[in-house]
């Protein structure tokens, strides 16, 4: 059991290859097979007709961020700055304030992510000790005509819903 070295022959020179039509017809046979297979039914092709056909977004997908809330609607985030620290692109800006709803001591006053700088690595999700931020919205396309609009704030992120049922999301995290 081991790696063996194998020399590849340089092709060419046989009479069949020299009379190049034979190989051309063999090649045409291959293309013809594909042609016939795809002529009436091209569902065998993996390449999608995007955007008419949308891809399935799996539960582990690193999409747009959202901030999660407790059942009573208050944000889970405790403004601990872990996500901001772990972000390799330095694109999370949090301002912390005293918590008014009495759940814990701190909460974010503002929480902004600059999506134009975000590299969608998921490190913020990995760093969060409160499961307060996730990238499970399933949103993967985001465009804007100016940079300011690429910054999303707390209200927007709190209002986004998860794109997957909770079990599916948790299952995706398995083995983490």
């Amino acid at each position: 059991m081991a790696a063996k070295v194998k020399q590849l022959p340089s092709r060419g020179g046989t009479p069949a290859e020299k009379v190049y039509l034979i190989e051309i017809f063999k090649g045409m046979a291959i293309t013809l097979k594909h042609f016939l297979r795809n002529l009436w039914d091209n569902s065998n092709l993996y390449v999608r007709h995007y955007p008419e056909v949308q891809p399935d977004i799996p539960a582990r997908w690193r999409g747009r961020h959202r901030l999660l809330t407790h059942p009573d609607g208050t944000p889970k985030c405790v403004a601990c700055f872990m996500c901001q620290t772990n972000c390799p692109a330095d694109c999370i800006m949090i301002k912390a304030g005293t918590r008014i709803d009495g759940v814990t001591e701190k909460m974010p006053v503002s929480f902004t992510i600059d999506l134009a700088e975000c590299i969608y690595c998921g490190y913020c999700v990995e760093a969060c000790p409160e499961d307060a931020i996730r990238m499970d919205t399933g949103i993967y396309a985001f465009t804007s005509s100016n940079r300011e609009e690429m910054k999303i704030g707390m209200t927007e992120m709190l209002s986004l819903k998860g794109g997957f049922p909770e079990e599916e999301y948790q299952k995706g995290l398995e083995g983490e």
Binding site: V5, Q7, G175
Partner: protein, 570 residues
């Protein structure tokens, strides 16, 4: 490396200090002895592959190992005996610098240029000491510790490349002076940087006689993002998403190579399952990388059909990857001490499905190409390179093997149980473009073989080491246990502490040896992280390969070398 090698080295170089760092023999020499040491290593110790040249700036290093601020490191490999040697020397005055090694190895040309560009260390006698990754107008040397990471410069003028091209033309005996007598003249042509045939942003300037290239120079750096400077400002784990962007056609291989280098030095033993996972996924990405290369090269010779057969499967594979990693192109899948995710449920079936599809697609494509005389006439005996040339220019991976050199780290320095798998290392017989093209079909087949074997052998169990100093604790512990939370905090804020030291480690990536040279000051952030991208040295050989050929040949050659801008320019 065995102990005798170190003793032999010490005997051969009594004035040098020999030490061993993991598998590497490190020689500290005086500047005056540098050239003789390097020559002797090449001649007597079989170190004919110069892997990399890099500088180190000790300005802010705690208790630096030498009195000089700068040090230059040459990394050499004897590929036959699996011996890696690093030769280091202090630079007392960067303006005077060191004598060049470019007369010993061709690859030193680009390696030293980069070192000068990034650190401002001069190499006397160097034939072409210009900027390489940074623009000609750039001021300062960005990898010096006193160059601020956020300093910006506005660069307006493009480099005409006229002087280097004319110098190169003059240095060659092409007989072009006689052309004026025929009433004609050398034509200068610029190709790129945004030419479709360059597959990325690379710029070529050529001097032509008709369609024949007399001289060629390359300008790179259009995609230079300062990866190495950025890495110095991030913790070891934070750099992983950045490595995705090196060779973006096989992002996972960069992730693996990067963490493998750190784990090796920090003595972190990853689990069996993680090792097999890295084998399976590494080989899968090797296949994807080769699919890109073959498909694009096919298009460049006018065979578009080929592209559809190969890209269809590649597209399908992205569905698998996004299920596994959460992204299509950027995998960000490894962590120091293991993997971010285990495989998802049902991955074996999906993987087998993709392997079968790739076998079919690549088989059909090979059926169209291999014996086709048009392709043969287009590629055979074009841009030939001898094994000696290839080694001297520092080629690695499929490009080196296509020149007939059977060097593959998976065979010669096996890691992750590669010695337990049964597979072939294909090598070429002519060293021409055809071999560079066909070898990738064979490597795809061999990678499929390896994946199938690894899938049979992969054990169950965790994919991460259970050590809070190395890996983030499980989320359940973070949410519920104060100890888990404390470890989590420490890990995020400080990162993995890697012991103080300097080391090099290589990995057989899709395009060749992807190496990382680290300098650690004992903290959680690399003091220095230098990439040895295979493409960089491959492209360094490009002018020598294409001179004497036609423009169309050069284009095909470029696609068969599979130059990826992301890792070329970093």
């Amino acid at each position: 490396m065995n102990d005798t090698a170190l003793t032999q080295l010490q005997e051969a170089f009594p004035s040098a200090t020999c030490t061993q760092v993991i598998d590497t023999a490190v020689l500290d020499v005086q500047t005056d002895d540098l050239t003789t040491t390097l020559t002797a290593l090449k001649e007597n110790f079989g170190c004919d592959l110069l892997l990399d040249v890099t500088g180190i700036d000790y300005l802010t290093y705690p208790k630096p190992p030498q009195k000089e601020r700068f040090r230059v490191v040459y990394t050499l490999r004897n590929w036959r005996d699996n011996l890696v040697v690093q030769v280091r020397t202090g630079v007392s005055n960067p303006k005077i610098g060191l004598p060049t090694a470019s007369s010993i190895w061709e690859s030193a040309n680009w390696g030293e240029r980069e070192c000068w560009d990034q650190y401002g260390i001069n190499f006397s006698g160097h034939p072409d000491l210009r900027r390489i990754l940074n623009h000609v107008q750039f001021e300062g040397h960005p990898l010096r510790k006193d160059y601020p990471v956020d300093k910006r410069q506005v660069l307006m003028e493009s480099d005409s490349l006229e002087a280097p091209l004319k110098a190169r033309l003059a240095s060659k005996d092409t007989g072009h002076e006689a052309m004026t007598e025929l009433g004609t003249d050398v034509m200068f042509l610029n190709i790129g940087p945004a030419h479709p045939a360059t597959h990325g942003a690379i710029r070529f300037a050529v001097a032509l006689d008709g369609e024949t290239i007399l001289a060629n120079v390359v300008e790179i750096g259009y995609l230079h993002r300062g990866f190495e400077k950025l890495a110095e400002k991030h913790t070891y784990n934070q750099v992983i998403p950045l490595t995705d962007r090196l060779n973006y056609c096989s992002s996972m291989m960069n992730n693996i190579a990067y963490v493998k280098a750190i784990e090796k030095f920090a003595n972190i033993e990853i689990t069996e399952r993680a090792q097999f996972m890295r084998v399976v996924l590494g080989e899968f990405y090797r296949i994807l990388d080769h699919l890109v290369c073959l498909a694009a090269a096919g298009v460049d010779v006018g065979g578009l059909t080929n592209y559809w057969y190969l890209y269809d499967e590649k597209e399908a594979a992205y569905d698998f990857i996004s299920k596994l990693c959460g992204g299509r192109l950027m995998s960000t899948a490894t962590r120091i001490g293991g993997m971010y995710h285990d495989f998802h449920e049902g991955w074996e079936k999906e993987m087998e499905f993709h392997l079968a599809a790739i076998e079919k697609g690549a088989g059909d494509s090979q059926g169209l190409m291999e014996k086709n005389r048009i392709l043969q006439d287009r590629m055979q005996n074009v841009c030939r390179f001898s094994p000696e040339q290839a080694i001297s220019f520092g080629l690695t991976g499929p490009n080196l093997r296509s020149c007939g050199v059977p060097f593959d780290l998976r065979k010669d320095a096996p890691y992750y149980n590669y010695d337990a798998f049964d597979f072939d290392i294909p090598i070429g017989s002519n060293g021409d473009v055809y071999d560079r093209f066909m070898i990738r079909y064979e490597e795809i087949k061999q990678s499929i073989r390896i994946i199938r074997q690894a899938m049979k052998m992969i054990p169950g169990g965790p994919v991460n080491v259970n050590d809070p100093q190395v890996h983030l604790p499980k989320k359940a512990q973070v949410y519920t246990k104060i100890e888990g939370l404390a470890n989590h905090f420490k890990m995020v804020f400080e990162g993995v502490h890697v012991p103080k030291g300097e080391w090099y480690d290589g990995y057989e990536a899709a395009n060749g040896e992807l190496g990382f040279h680290f300098v650690s000051d004992g903290s959680g952030t690399p003091y220095k992280c230098k990439v040895r991208p295979p493409c960089f040295y491959t492209l360094g050989s490009f002018p020598a390969m294409v001179e004497g050929s036609m423009i169309a040949d050069a284009i095909v050659n470029l696609s068969c070398l599979n130059i990826i801008g992301g890792e070329l320019d970093r």
